[in-house]
């Protein structure tokens, strides 16, 4: 009997000990698990490939778009395939087809021709590849998002800056871009709406110079001759304003007329530095490229985006 009960006593004791050990290990396990769970979140994301089709890489503007896109792609771990459309709509369509065949996960297209590119976009739609347009929109096909400068806001910014610099009063000229282009329409609308809030400023002439520097020069020379009382000029792009400055210089009026351009090209920046140009509304091509790639990345990772993503503009002055 004694042996038996002693055995039972030992057994009881060992059970309690085991429970104690379980308790201790249970607690330490919990600590371990906490550490594990915080580390196990790291997953290797699959490498995405995004095609970037630019209309013309001889234009520094698009080179900037490419650079910006490349930095974002590097940051996000995305492989970026860049194609130069060389202002050739047919070539660009071929490039789209090549990229679809590669394949890529998404396409960022800066169309050479908004109409001609439509079949290529449709082909991409058929291959289930999301398409984004940059700077210039396409007339058809399913486009997830259009990424472009906020031209309406840019026009308004130009109007505001100009008004400030002419004392909120005066007669001004607006040199318009190619009629029917979205850039010309939006920039003009933003500018006109803003100017309308200044009762003492009057737009005396609105005339197109087709985004061209030489045409801008001739058109403005004629306008200046017709309206010598004008105090300021706004052009829908820097080329036209640079032409207008040339015309004003030839007419000897460069000093008393304020010029505001749009785009922030190198010539315009030089003109600002020399004091010929008051300001230019600079687009942010690099930012466009960055946002393009980031938007594609977001969509590919299951996010939703707006169909139009405006890119801010900046007033560049001396």
């Amino acid at each position: 009997m004694s042996e038996f009960s002693r055995f039972k006593l030992y057994r009881l004791g060992s059970i309690v000990l085991v429970l104690l050990l379980l308790l201790l290990t249970g607690c330490s396990n919990k600590d371990d698990k906490k550490n594990d769970s915080s580390k196990s979140d790291t997953k290797t994301p699959e490498t995405l490939t995004v095609g970037l089709l630019l209309s013309d890489l001889s234009n520094p503007f698009f080179v900037s778009v490419q650079e910006g896109a490349q930095t974002s792609a590097t940051r996000l771990g995305i492989t970026l395939v860049v194609q130069d459309g060389k202002n050739d709509a047919a070539l660009q369509i071929t490039q789209v087809q090549e990229l679809i065949a590669l394949p890529v996960n998404a396409l960022l297209i800066n169309p050479v021709d908004g109409d001609a590119i439509v079949p290529a976009i449709q082909a991409a739609n058929a291959a289930n590849i999301p398409v984004f347009t940059i700077d210039r929109s396409a007339s058809g096909g399913t486009v997830v998002a259009h990424i472009a400068s906020d031209n309406v806001a840019g026009g308004a910014m130009a109007a505001e800056y100009l008004a400030d610099n002419i004392g909120d009063a005066g007669k001004i000229v607006e040199l318009q871009g190619i009629e029917g282009t979205s850039a010309a329409q939006d920039r003009g609308r933003g500018f006109d709406e803003k100017i309308a809030t200044y009762p003492n400023i009057e737009i005396v002439v609105k005339q197109t110079a087709n985004f061209d520097q030489a045409e801008g020069k001739t058109v403005f020379a004629q306008i200046l001759a017709d309206n010598p009382e004008i105090t300021a000029v706004f052009a829908h792009n820097d080329n036209m304003i640079l032409g207008a400055i040339e015309a004003a210089k030839e007419a000897g009026r460069a000093g008393d007329i304020k010029f505001v351009g749009f785009d922030g090209i190198d010539g315009a920046l030089t003109a600002i530095d020399s004091g010929d140009l008051l300001a230019t509304i600079a687009q942010q091509p690099a930012e466009m490229g960055r946002i393009g790639v980031e938007t594609a990345d977001k969509v590919l990772k299951g996010g939703t985006v707006d169909s139009y993503i405006p890119v801010d503009l900046a007033v560049i002055t001396k």
């Binding site: 038996f4 104690l20 308790l23 607690c27 906490k34 920046l269 930012e287 801010d312 560049i316 001396k318």
Partner: protein, 506 residues
């Protein structure tokens, strides 16, 4: 409840339990302390990581401020005086962040990587500024600031904030985890303490009860026994030392009770035996006739000693044998009538042995005794006692008693029977003497009568007749004759018929 544990084991068990309880509480308390330490570490590390991120952001904002004032004031000196040192400072912070070991930052490698990449991009564009400025391209520098650095700065601030928020929520999570753990430990310690105290109290009460209860039982039993109630027993409720003690106590009481009651019964039976001896004695004292004496003694012994049978053999020195003379009851008388003689030298007789050895013989199991001589009229005999009747040094016979019970005769009974036998022997001897004396006196009286009658007789014939008649009467013989011889061979012998009258007349 039958406890299997001894008191020693119970006490050892309670101590073990207490030690284990203490161990558990200590262990939990240790864990609690460790958890609290972890909390402090977590908070410190979390605050380090947040500080690091805040620092990083502040360095950038300082650098960004310098860029803005550089482009506003167009003082090239700012580049060397402020911009370059601040840039270096920012780059150092960036390098520190890149290799950060802080858990809250390491835990979010993607966000950290984004922040580092953005910082690199920013630095690339920041590096473009001095060259543009030195080339006098202030507007280009401005353009770089507005179109490249500012959009990137927005992303940078977002990324810093995101990482900051993640680290901050990590810290919150750690804190909340620690608090939860500590709350759990606290509850656990509380529950274990309360539960342990309750369990300890219950076990202590049970143990105390398990010790005091049997003790109280034992004390009550001892008190009852002290007051004379020997039938009282202590209740055995446990198998421990106290149970053993109670068991021993009960055994002791049992033995005491048994020995007292057996002593009482022995005294009782002894008294009864002595009474029987006295009764037999007083009876035999009044009996002088031998045959009646023996018969009455047999009957009395059988009756008073409550025996199966009792009978008496008388010793016949001429035959050197023992003759059954008297037996109790009907069977005894019948056996006497049948006649039973046992030679003294017969080996197969307890009675003969008693006569030979002149000592009492007890056989308490006749079936085991080879010398037992069974008798068909006494089939139930199981034990037998034979005591010699000895008076004045002479053996007179043997008193033989039988019982239908095994082991009926004790040494006490034997000595009683021997005593009784010697009394019987003395009485027998007295009775014999009395008979002899009476016979002598009667004979002398007969002789006197005869003499008287002879003296009054007038003739020889009358003398002879009277003599024969009186002799026959006195001698109680059926036939008496006197033969007269004359010297001249004259026979005066009367015929037998002539002198038979005397006998007839008796």
């Amino acid at each position: 409840m039958r406890l299997r544990f001894s008191i020693r084991q119970r006490i050892a068990f309670i101590f073990t339990l207490l030690v284990l309880l203490l161990l558990v509480i200590s262990a939990v308390a240790l864990l609690f302390t460790r958890s609290a330490e972890n909390t402090v570490t977590d908070v410190r590390r979390g605050s380090d990581s947040l500080t690091q991120l805040d620092d990083f952001r502040i360095r950038w904002l300082a650098l960004s401020g310098t860029l803005n004032s550089l482009l506003l004031t167009r003082e090239e000196a700012l580049i060397d005086n402020q911009l370059i040192p601040q840039q270096t400072d920012f780059e150092n912070r960036l390098a520190a962040l890149r290799t950060s070991n802080v858990e809250e930052i390491k835990n979010h490698p993607e966000e950290t990587q984004t922040l580092v990449s953005l910082s690199d991009e920013l630095l690339t564009h920041v590096n473009e500024i001095p060259s543009a400025v030195q080339a006098g391209e202030w507007t280009r520098a401005q353009s770089i600031l507005h179109t490249d650095i500012e959009p990137l700065q927005g992303r940078f601030i977002d990324a810093v904030n995101e990482l900051h928020d993640l680290a901050s929520s990590d810290v919150d999570q750690n804190l909340s985890d620690s608090t939860t753990t500590q709350d759990r430990f606290r509850t656990f310690v509380f529950a274990i303490s309360i539960g342990g105290v309750i369990v300890a109290l219950i076990i202590a009460a049970l143990t105390t009860l398990s010790i005091t209860q049997p003790l109280a039982n034992l004390t009550a039993a001892a008190r009852a026994i002290r007051e004379g109630d020997l039938s009282k027993r202590a209740e055995v409720t446990s198998r421990d030392e106290l149970g053993d003690l109670a068991q021993s106590f009960n055994n002791m009481t049992e033995q005491l009770q048994t020995s007292i009651s057996s002593l009482e019964s022995r005294v009782q039976s002894r008294t009864r035996d002595l009474e029987a001896v006295f009764a037999v004695n007083s009876q035999i004292g009044t009996l002088l006739e031998v045959d009646r004496l023996l018969q009455d003694v047999s009957d009395l012994i059988k009756e008073r000693f409550n025996l199966y049978h009792a009978h008496i053999f008388m010793f016949d020195p001429e035959e050197d044998a023992l003759i059954l003379t008297a037996g109790a009851g009907h069977v005894g008388r019948q056996m006497v009538t049948e006649g039973r003689i046992i030679k003294v030298n017969s080996p197969r007789s307890i009675v003969a042995r008693a006569a030979r050895t002149r000592k009492g013989v007890v056989v308490n199991d006749v079936t085991e005794a080879p010398e037992f001589l069974p008798h068909p009229s006494l089939p139930n005999t199981r034990s037998e006692l034979a005591a010699p009747l000895i008076a004045r040094g002479r053996i007179l016979g043997v008193l033989d008693v039988q019982s239908s019970d095994l082991n009926h005769f004790s040494a006490d009974t034997l000595s009683l029977m021997e005593l009784l036998a010697s009394q019987v022997a003395v009485a027998l001897s007295n009775a014999t003497l009395y008979e002899v004396a009476e016979r002598t006196s009667r004979r002398e009286r007969t002789i006197g009568n005869i003499t008287q009658k002879i003296q009054t007789a007038v003739s020889i014939d009358e003398i002879l007749q009277s003599t024969i008649r009186e002799l026959g009467k006195a001698l109680r013989v059926p036939h008496t004759a006197i033969e007269l011889r004359l010297t001249e061979n004259i026979s005066l012998s009367p015929s037998d018929e002539e002198y038979d009258v005397a006998e007839q007349g008796v």
